[in-house]
Symmetry: C2
Subunit: 198 residues, 2 copies
């Protein structure tokens, strides 16, 4: 990708801007979100931001896409493998500042121009990808055909969210270390729920 | 209960103030929360509010306690009965303005004096009550002794949250009508997950 002026863009700067934008929104919400504050936090000039994102609405929408886009887009060949990966991605998102940003989005996105619709379509594509994982599992005979895809995914995604919220500050570091075993435990619990008749 | 002046308090006014305070906080967050705005929304004089709540921090903390206090404090005699009731209470809270208030609390409570600590202890007592339900179920032999109480409750509470969030505006009314059957379906799904070895 290149700028209008033809210079190649620095992906490291893209990433710093996106991270700073998501973190700032998580801390202050839309009320405290400005190009100035993002530029300061990212350690770049305001011109670098305007070059990439013509408005602060677009900046936040682009940053969210950048930070959340890889969720659920995986196919490991087994339902268990796919869901463990999904769980790890969700843990990554919900922990820390990006988790606060997601909470704020649920509350504030409908009233922020541009951001609401982008957030909706991002969420929708993630839900579709996650549903595809479960349907592939049904297709391979790993779980029964009558499995409630929605129930399985709601309890998985919601379970991750509760796990993160209920961890006190001083346990967050330990939680980070236990991501792998937690993901396996959660997936086994829920897949066990649907496959017990097989 | 009576006021300092000795007049009995009107519980209907208490309730209107609590509802207005929770709804306003859900819509605007702490930034837009004021005694004036709550008085207007509740249709009462500001003096009526100050008589009950000496500060806006106390007002919000009291309102939350008023609105959320009955969650999980039930004992129907069976695990399934208890969890279905818990699910219905959670659905009631997460839907509509009080759900937005809960989301905002998770993000904002740590930085609002008084409210953060009250919210923490309210949440804690609800978690303890919910854990007691599951332990009673284990005690009665309804589910295995090695059941992960945390995993069962995280997936139940989180599942309800996701169910509410993912419903588009125009389906909220239908969701209200289906509360009973949804609660039964969710509880059967999760209790099935833990009792499959019995």
């Amino acid at each position: 990708m290149s700028t209008a002026a033809g210079r190649p863009r620095d992906p490291e700067v893209d990433r710093r801007i996106a991270d700073a934008a998501v973190d700032l929104f998580g801390r202050t919400g839309w009320a405290g979100f400005s190009m100035d504050a993002v530029a300061r936090a990212a350690g770049v000039g305001k011109a670098s931001i305007y070059l990439r994102h013509p408005s602060k609405e677009r900046l936040l929408a682009d940053a969210l896409t950048h930070r959340l886009a890889d969720v659920a887009d995986v196919d490991t060949g087994t339902l268990r493998g796919d869901l463990v990966l999904l769980t790890r991605q969700l843990l990554d998102i919900y922990r820390g500042e990006s988790g606060r940003a997601v909470l704020r989005l649920i509350v504030e996105a409908p009233s922020i121009p541009d951001v609401g619709s982008r957030w909706e379509s991002l969420r929708e594509s993630q839900v579709l990808a996650a549903r595809a994982m479960v349907r592939r599992g049904i297709g391979r005979g790993e779980i029964p055909a009558e499995t409630s895809v929605t129930m399985l995914l709601d309890t998985l995604c919601g379970g991750v969210l509760m796990h993160v919220w209920s961890a006190p500050e001083h346990l967050q570091a330990r939680m980070a270390a236990d991501v792998e075993s937690y993901a396996a435990e959660l997936v086994d619990f829920l897949v066990g729920a649907v496959r017990r008749d097989i």
